[in-house]
Subunit: 170 residues, 2 copies
């Protein structure tokens, strides 16, 4: 599963989208925009792992990406609050057995994506956040298993604890 | 359930936290910081509803808020990647029958919160996003029911659809 995303002015929300993609089990992240945006993600991969499991790439034409993804047999899910509520599509989406590209817009998304995605999915039909929407979609697809993710190349790992901070350094 | 949050430099992530709180069923949002940060949320409440169901407030001393919340019989959940994985606490949290205050930090959070929360909960022990963490916690507590939320005073409602955008205006 991969994520396509275009940043608006703000790199922080884009960073959150990419970190959720990594932490919740995606295998890569396509960014429409400048490669420099990816530097903070690269820093996370070096420290917390995932350089081998999570590929970062910039794309100049996200429409070409969507077209070629579908031509190659993949499925495109566009997250939008105008789409069909995930409540009504959860099992259909979980049964997809082809590579999934999730398109996460920032700000207004062109009508083209609505027309060319296989699914337009809403995580509820209220305005909230592309970061939250992506997290919920991935949680529904992986049914919570993603929350136990571990990266073989991590230099630092957290040992979850009731109080304070415990970390393991490799 | 209410949310306490302190913004860092960036108002956009704070806005996302507040919008997730509203869309996922919380009854209010306490912000450590300037009231002006809340203006974009007020705009959302006027248009999409929730002015009666979702209270906005700024607080000068979030520690006093935590103390008084607990003194009044409420439970405080602090979201942190260093906490106990939600996987292991989901049913305990769902069984809480007292008012819940969820503390969502931005950046480094003082040790005080780790020591004074009833629960330090991690949505997975990887770095990702306070927006995603809040969404997943609320989704686990409400078991997906929050995704059908509707606000009586909404001026505009989305009718989720397979393609395009359909809205109802009151």
């Amino acid at each position: 599963m991969r994520i396509g995303h275009r940043p608006k002015r703000d790199v922080r929300v884009t960073t959150h989208v990419a970190l959720v993609a990594r932490a919740f089990g995606c295998s890569g992240f396509f960014l429409e925009g400048d490669d420099g945006y990816l530097n903070s993600i690269r820093g996370i991969l070096r420290k917390w792992g995932g350089a081998e499991d999570f590929e970062l790439e910039t794309v100049k034409s996200p429409r070409s990406l969507v077209k070629s993804w579908r031509r190659d047999g993949g499925v495109v899910i566009h997250l939008t609050m105008y789409g069909v509520n995930i409540i009504d599509k959860e099992s259909a989406i979980r049964e997809i057995d082809r590579p999934i590209l999730i398109v996460v817009g920032a700000g207004k998304v062109s009508r083209w994506y609505y027309e060319n995605a296989d699914y337009n999915i809403a995580i509820g039909n209220q305005p909230h956040s592309e970061v939250a929407a992506l997290a919920i979609l991935l949680d529904r697809i992986y049914m919570g298993r993603e929350l136990g993710i571990d990266f073989g190349d991590a230099r630092i790992r957290i040992l979850g604890t009731e109080r304070g901070k415990r970390v393991l350094r490799a």
